[in-house]
Amino acid sequence: MTSALELRRVSKIYGSGPSEVHALDEVDLSVDRGELVAIMGPSGSGKSTLLTISGSLEEPTSGQVFVDGNDLATLSRSNRAKLRRRSIGYVFQDFNLLPGLNALENVSLPLELDGVSSKAARGTAVEAMEELDVTDRADHFPDELSGGERQRVAIARAIVGERGLLLADEPTGALDSVNGEAVMRLLRAATHRGVAGVVVTHEAQLASWADRVVFIRDGQIVDQTTALAGPESLLAAGGDR
């Protein structure tokens, strides 16, 4: 099976000469559909660069990035843009909803930009909003929504249509821990329905919602969690109590 996202020996160098910064150093990573992966690392470890390169918002200095089996480097600029619009959804820390559009218009926008008719786009947008339980807020503008509702709308926009890859950078933003958890539940539910999800976070509690946690330091993947044991192992372990 082709991974939804695969990075092969991806490096990213900013600047040159003495001011050269190696943001990523030969990173290998693959994420399957149905899997939620969290990337954890300290500030400046390269985790956000890894996300922007995965989403083709930035190009690697060397190495290959495959999205749904497509080598991004071999695609024309316009095909890369199309892949970005159709296959990849982004959730940002500050939500990035357009203030002049209501919730439904925000969610249907990526489809309309991709040439889908307004009517069809809205139909698909409603489906995504139903998944996130925000259809009753469809005609509200972003400034009329609570923080949690705004983030739900942002996630609906990220999964609308046939997107196979969901990328999120500190997606719980300034939400309190219970609302932050609700966002992670939604991302997890979205990925378990068949999307590949990558979440960058420095918060251990949020990362613990992922199926796999990958640790990055100084631009290199240094470690990752092993396959999850069931919750019953908490009782068996005993010593954890």
Binding site: E203, A204, A207, Q224, T225, L234, L235
Partner: protein, 192 residues
Amino acid sequence: MSVPHALLALLSDGAKYGLQLQSEFEAKTGEVWPLNVGQVYTTLQRLERDGLVQTSSEEGEGSQKRYRITSTGERELGEWLRTPPDLVPPPRDELVIKVLVALEVPGTDIHDVLQGHRRHVIEVMQRYTQVKAAAAEGDVPLALVADAELFRLEGIVRWLDAAEVRLKQLPPPAHSAGDVAIESTRTMEVAQ
């Protein structure tokens, strides 16, 4: 966890049998803290001896005893709920000791040591999160128990993260390790 006070709390809404107390205790702590029935009866005997519970007199010979809370028991429970728990840390936190010792052992990559512990803690956190994810939406007791563990474990990860940053700022390891150990001993004395 104070089992005696938990049992008093469970008895505060009416008389109950020992087995009933066991199953209610486990249900209300999200089944994360198992309690065996022997422990329940030993605790009830002690509570009865101290006058905090009494056995129901209406039960006939041979039938199971029902326990009810006394007014002394209610007062004790009320006081316990409002008394702050002991927050002074244990004198020697095993993880802190391991990291301090790792600084002294030649050839040890302290960052690998920190990362090994970080991964382990996060794996345990993933399991608690799974418990929360699988729980029914309205199961608040379970969410509270899981949250308590998750916040505690997150505190450990944050300590490991902070240690990583502090150790990066250290000059050559030979001098600095001793300094760190002395500094932390001083801090622990203050805490005690």
